[in-house]
Amino acid sequence: MTVHARGYRPLKDRRRSKGLRFVPIFREARRDAMRGVLLLVFRLLCVLLPLILIGFFLYFQSGPLSAILRQTTGGMQLDELTTARETLSIALLMFHDWTALWIVLLSLFVGAGVIADDLRTRALPLYLVRPITPIDYFLGKWLVPVSALVVYVLCPGLLLVLLAASMRPSGETWAFLVDRRDVILALLHHFAVLAVGYASLVVLVSTVARRRLSAIVLGALVFLGGSLIAGSAMGVKGPLGDAARATSLYANAQRVLQDGLGSSLPYAQRAELPSTTAAYVVTGALFVACAVAVLRRARTSEVVS
């Protein structure tokens, strides 16, 4: 029996697929955003290298990790468990510190084209005539940089926690993980703030810029501008200084991470970070701005016709 032949075949089975409608959009957009050998090499070098180095320091309790720990404790002898806990906190903060710039660039490279390319090739009407809502389109696109950040921000942090737990004597691994569940929650919390902020910003500039390269440049300028404003607001008291410091998305995520780790380490320069409230407000506002921009764009073909 022939199962495929040239010619038009009426579609007999008109059942709708049960999956979420934004999933195909996400899958295709992610495949497109992640393609390219150069980007793969960049991703691996920027994240894998720091992860391996810090994992090495953590495992052997050496290098900058032990130096910072000595500086923190003022040479005071800590018990083994406390040392392990503090070393893990330092390792996590150090990892996110070392990869901060690369994660910004990675977000831009991955997310800048998700909507800009559709606008460039006038593909939007192709989506709009399908039975999907603007929210499906938004979610499908917005989740692309988020998913990249899962791999390159959340997973390495969790790997470091697992590494620290695996270094415990036999039988104490689970006890350590349970004891340091606040670290896991802090990592999740940090990831949420960072991913929402970064993904919203890159998707927003992708929507506004309408060209991938323009979106990368514009996004880089916004990230840089935010950091400069935040830097110039060091020491400025009151809500204005707080709001200015919250323009750095990296600082917002660090604030949440440090809150979660509950650390008073000198490595964490708390005074230079925005308040938790400001971090949430700026991240939330960015998400809303991104959602409004994309939903407006995906609502009608008028702007592209």
């Binding site: 010619g7 579609l11 195909p24 497109d32 559709d118 090739t121 006038r122 192709l126 999907i132 073909s301």
Partner: protein
């Protein structure tokens, strides 16, 4: 049965003059050509009906579904081929078709199968796996058709579908659309300003100009007898024309008949319209005045003539005062 119904639809882009002004019309079953010069409002009309444009007044339904409230239900049952080059970035032909089929609700496996079939159907078999951005203009038009039919819609909206295609490609495309309509029962709305293409596939025509409906008719009405005859005779014209008048035959003014008088001979030529479309009185009048009839030919209207009459009439008249050439799909609504 009306496939698309539009009632009092008005659409303006910002502060510019409205692209559509209080348009009411119907598209019936089969293939309907939506004709009009550039800027007539054809694409705007299609986009309003499909819900791609939202801020319009009036009402539009497709297959009985409201264009505002049941947008997603409509989109499950229609296919749209946009006028502009619309490509999914960095996707092959088969990948883009599969992806759009999935968005229409097909499972991944079924979508891939449909994508292959539809690309075969439109003649892109050799280019299935090539990036769509490398396609020629004609191939892109075919790809857009494949994307429009990949989910087996009931109604197809084609916006300038053959623009930029070579003659052979155009022929093939017309045959494909005819096949979809005649063999697979698809209803097609074909928007274009290319009259010969439309005439070859359409059953009915609707003419838009300046955001107004100028008229609508069925092509078979053009092909049938118009009740008018092109009469070529020899002899004295005046007694013959008087004899025609006494028999109730309407004679069109001389300036409406090409080459009405030959000043070098007694030959004349006039367009006449006998009562009831019966040519008998013409022969009676010729017999009574001893006029030699060289030819009596039924006048068949060409689409171009009707189109230009409607467009030219539209420039001078308000649309509601236009005389439509024949009753056809949406004629009443158009009025």
């Amino acid at each position: 049965m009306a496939i698309v119904t539009v009632t009092n639809l008005t659409k303006a882009y910002g502060r510019r003059p409205p692209a559509l002004v209080d348009v009411s019309l119907e598209f019936r079953e089969g293939v309907t050509g939506l004709l009009g010069p550039n800027g007539a409002g054809k694409s705007t009309l299609l986009q309003c009906v499909l819900g791609l444009l939202r801020d319009f007044s009036g009402r539009a339904t497709v297959l009985g579904l409201d264009a505002r409230r049941q947008r997603l239900d409509i989109r499950r049952r229609v296919g749209y081929m946009p006028e502009a080059d619309a490509l999914l970035p960095r996707m092959s032909g088969v990948a883009s078709c599969r992806f759009l089929a999935q968005l229409s609700g097909l499972s991944r496996r079924e979508a891939l199968r449909r994508a292959h079939e539809c690309l075969h159907y439109v003649g892109l078999t050799e280019h299935l796996y090539k990036s769509a951005e490398e396609y020629s203009t004609g191939m892109r038009q075919r790809l857009k058709l494949a994307q429009a039919i990949v989910h087996d819609p009931d109604v197809l909206f084609l916006d300038e579908p053959v623009s930029g295609m070579d003659p052979q490609g155009r022929e093939d495309f017309l045959a494909l659309v005819r096949g979809l309509a005649k063999e697979h029962g698809k209803h097609v709305i074909w928007s274009s300003h290319m009259l010969p293409d439309v005439q070859r596939v359409a059953d009915g025509i609707l003419v838009l100009q300046g955001g107004h409906v100028r008229g609508s008719f069925r092509l078979e009405d053009l092909e049938g007898a118009t009740g008018r005859f092109d009469v070529e005779g020899e002899g004295h014209a005046m007694p013959f024309l008087d004899a025609l008048a006494t028999r109730g035959v309407r004679v069109e003014p001389e300036d409406a008949t090409p080459g009405a008088l030959d000043p070098t001979s007694l030959r004349f030529r006039r367009i006449v319209q006998p009562p009831g479309g019966d040519a008998g009185p013409v022969f009676e009048a010729a017999h009574a005045t001893a006029t030699i009839l060289r030819a009596v030919t039924p006048v068949v209207e060409r689409l171009e003539d009707v189109f230009h009459r409607l467009i030219d009439g539209g420039r001078m008249q308000r649309p509601e005062t236009l005389t439509l050439p024949a009753a056809g799909p949406g004629a009443e609504a158009a009025r």
